[in-house]
């Protein structure tokens, strides 16, 4: 009885006090942020949101994971059509062209200007900024989680064949894989050939070798861009990969087969993989006890002048149709994320790299890259800044690129299963990819990319 009484009294007091308190504190303005990361990464985002909410009293961001990038875009589109869109949304790299034509966003640079925040856009690494900027260089969205592809190599295995350094050219890679095979390694190198690997195998390779993926500067100069990967150096690359696969130097590793390539590398089963710097933490945490490994920039063919690699990841878009108060909150949130201290928090807890020079310098100053688990991640910055971005290495601005990636997976599988020759497969990739681009262009008649 007494407990109930006391409970009721406490409730009444609580209600009363909150009623009394209401006029004193204005409720913080709430706004939504949808993102596409899950698991560990989602928890880091949640912590970041909490930090933002605790850092000030005027705004409250409500962060909701939508599971993955695809679902985030789909759900945002559905919400937008129903007029219930979030204020800020994370959209992956290849969704940029779709977003730019959507007419559903508020340009990030304008938003910051209107709300009195000064952002030094030259501070962004050019390889990152250009990917998300318009052809004129305006930032429509803010780079958020960013990564690039690296080569992970097992030092112990390379020591067995008398090497202490990672191979720099694909010619050397071929020789080293052969040597490792002869030294008794079952799986010198692991790759996978699904849609996801378009990123490291086709996109990064083409950028580093300054080879176009599509005409019109990879689509930056118009919606009438068409693929041309069937007549660049990429053909030779696929031919070599296939040759090494046939010789047993490369094994295909994917989750469907039992073990993906990151697991295969971490357990010491396979000695070389090409994957995102974002996996650096995973390999470190799950590696076989005592295994020595390191990361290096992706190799190039001999005689190639190395260019910058492409950024992967996602950027933050602010959607249209929200109130001024919500925009104020969004601007404060983006400014918070832009802060070098947030960059340090973000990179420490994930494998992602800082997106600004000041963030990178701040982290270097804190000794981030000297310590064991994070040592090596600076290679990603070196790879991204290997050169000033060229017209081609700015990025890829093609419509429905997700479908083109799917087509890449399909054709690579056909090639590796000996159903078609390398050239036939890549010709089909171009043909089907062009049909996708054609359709995208028809859907937006008379529109041009900003």
């Amino acid at each position: 009885m007494t407990i109930i009484k006391r409970g009721v009294a406490a409730l009444a007091a609580g209600a009363l006090s909150s009623l009394l308190a209401m006029p004193a504190f204005a409720e913080p303005v709430k706004f939504d942020f949808w993102f596409g990361l899950s698991g560990d990464l989602a928890r880091v985002v949640d912590t970041m949101c909490k930090n933002f909410n605790e850092s000030q009293k005027d705004y409250e961001v409500v962060c909701t994971s939508q599971g993955n990038y695809d679902a985030t875009l789909q759900n945002t589109i559905a919400a937008f059509r129903a007029g219930k869109q979030p204020t800020v949304v994370q959209v992956y790299d290849v969704g940029t062209a779709t977003m730019m034509l959507s007419g559903a966003y508020k340009p990030a640079d304008k938003l910051m200007e209107e709300n009195g925040y000064k952002i030094d856009y030259a501070d962004y690494f050019p390889g990152i900024a250009r990917y998300y900027a318009t052809s004129k260089g305006e930032m429509l969205s803010f780079p958020f989680n960013s990564s690039t592809a690296l080569m992970y190599w097992n030092k112990d295995a390379f020591a067995k064949i008398g090497k202490t350094e990672a191979p720099k050219t694909w010619e050397d890679v071929g020789a080293d894989l052969k040597a490792m095979k002869d030294a008794g390694y079952e799986c010198p190198m692991a790759i996978n050939i699904s849609a996801n690997e378009s990123w490291q195998l086709m996109e990064q390779f083409s950028a580093i070798h300054n080879q176009p993926i599509a005409t019109k500067n990879n689509g930056y100069d118009g919606l009438d861009a068409r693929l041309e990967v069937n007549k660049t150096k990429f053909v030779q690359y696929v031919t070599d990969l296939k040759k090494w696969y046939d010789a047993g130097l490369i094994k295909i590793k994917s989750k469907d087969l039992g073990q993906d390539m990151v697991q295969a590398f971490a357990t010491g089963t396979c000695q070389v993989i090409l994957t995102s710097v974002g996996d650096h933490g995973t390999v470190g945490r799950t590696q076989k006890e005592g295994m020595n490994w390191d990361v290096a920039e992706l190799p190039v063919y001999a005689g190639t002048e190395r260019k910058n690699s492409l950024v992967g990841g996602a950027s933050l878009w602010v959607l249209s149709g929200k109130s001024d108060a919500e925009y104020k909150g969004a601007a404060a949130f983006l400014n918070f994320i832009h802060d070098p201290k947030t960059a340090l928090f973000w990179s420490t807890n994930t494998g992602y790299i800082p997106v600004t020079k000041s963030g990178f310098d701040y982290m270097k100053g804190q000794g981030f890259y000297d310590k064991a688990p994070y040592k090596g991640r600076e290679v990603a910055i070196a790879s991204l800044t290997a050169s000033e971005p060229t017209e081609i290495t700015r990025g890829i601005r093609l419509g429905n690129f997700t479908q083109i990636r799917a087509e890449f997976g399909t054709q690579m599988q056909a090639i590796f299963a000996n159903k078609v020759s390398v050239q036939e497969g890549l010709d089909t990739l171009v043909k089907n990819g062009d049909a996708i681009l054609d359709r995208f262009q028809q859907t937006y008649p008379g529109k041009t990319l900003p």
Partner: protein
């Protein structure tokens, strides 16, 4: 004098039908109508506008060889998985009906697979059929490279057929068992006294008497294999390798939601709907003649 409240036949009929009609309209006719409209236009995903293109969407889909490969993959999948699921369920039900030792246990256990959500069972089968780490890796140790659903389209198709059939064996089993148990014992006993064996009794008495159930399950299985295969394909193969398992329903999903080509996906779903309607009409027209309803 007796007083009676009467309604005109029409009013009461319609009144009873209205709730159902509203449901059907909201959840079927309205979205289906919307799909027809979308299939005749080019929709901008963000709702910025659309263009009337008439039958262009259908023309470009039907001219695409990949689409026809998807149709034939769907037909192969439907044919084999329906056959497998129905045959196994029929045998199991016939055996359970004979009241062999422990049949009460089978009666309960065999229904369970149908209660498992497709993605969950697909995940289980992905582990079982994984060529390097699953149960089937034994086969690869004996004959290296013989089982490779990651690159071999036939192996991948076999995987999804096995997973789908496994689920529908449970469903079919319930219906077959019920049908068998509805057959009067006296018929079978009389046949047994006349000296006919188990197989003979099955073919001459039980099988003809359960044809209505077989027909019903055939229609349901074929329809479901076109629609319910989505979760299994998504988890196990994502339509690969090289589109070998890119069934029609999965292609609709990936073109529409991943590729944001809402119009093309709408047109494909109209075609799928027509195909299922056609198949069902065909079955009623030609197969139902051979069904004997009591």
């Amino acid at each position: 004098m007796e007083k009676r409240v009467t309604f005109s036949k029409w009013t009461i009929g319609i009144l009873f039908a209205v709730p159902q009609l509203i449901l059907i309209f909201t959840f079927f006719y309205w979205p289906a109508g919307q799909a027809v409209y979308w299939s005749l236009t080019l929709q901008q995903p963000w709702g910025g506008g659309n263009i009337w293109v008439g039958l262009d969407n259908f023309r470009s889909i039907l001219a695409n060889p990949d689409y026809w490969r998807s149709v034939s993959a769907s037909l192969v999948f439907a044919g084999i998985s329906t056959g497998l699921a129905m045959f196994i369920a029929l045998v199991l039900a016939a055996l359970t009906d004979r009241q062999l030792a422990g049949s009460w246990l089978y009666r309960v256990v065999l229904i369970w697979p149908y209660g498992i959500a497709a993605p969950a069972l697909a995940l289980a089968f992905r582990f079982i059929l994984a060529p390097e780490a699953g149960f089937l890796s034994v086969v690869n140790q004996m004959w290296p490279g013989i089982w490779d659903p990651g690159l071999d389209g036939t192996d991948a198709m076999a995987s999804i057929i096995v997973a789908f059939s496994w689920k529908y064996v449970g469903y079919n089993f319930i219906f077959f068992l019920a049908a068998f148990q509805a057959i009067p014992r006296s018929l079978i006993e009389a046949a047994a006294m006349d000296g006919s064996g188990v197989i003979r009794r099955f073919w001459d008495i039980q099988f003809p008497l359960i044809t209505p159930t077989i027909f019903f399950l055939l229609v349901i299985n074929i329809t479901e294999s076109f629609q319910d295969s989505f979760g299994i394909v998504d988890i196990m193969t994502s339509g690969g390798p090289a589109n070998a398992t890119n069934l029609m329903v999965y292609k609709i999903y990936s073109d529409g939601f991943k590729g944001l080509d809402y119009s093309g996906a709408a047109a494909q779903s109209i075609i799928l709907m027509l195909l299922i309607i056609l198949l069902t009409i065909f079955q009623f027209r030609f197969l139902e003649r051979r069904v004997h309803y009591r």
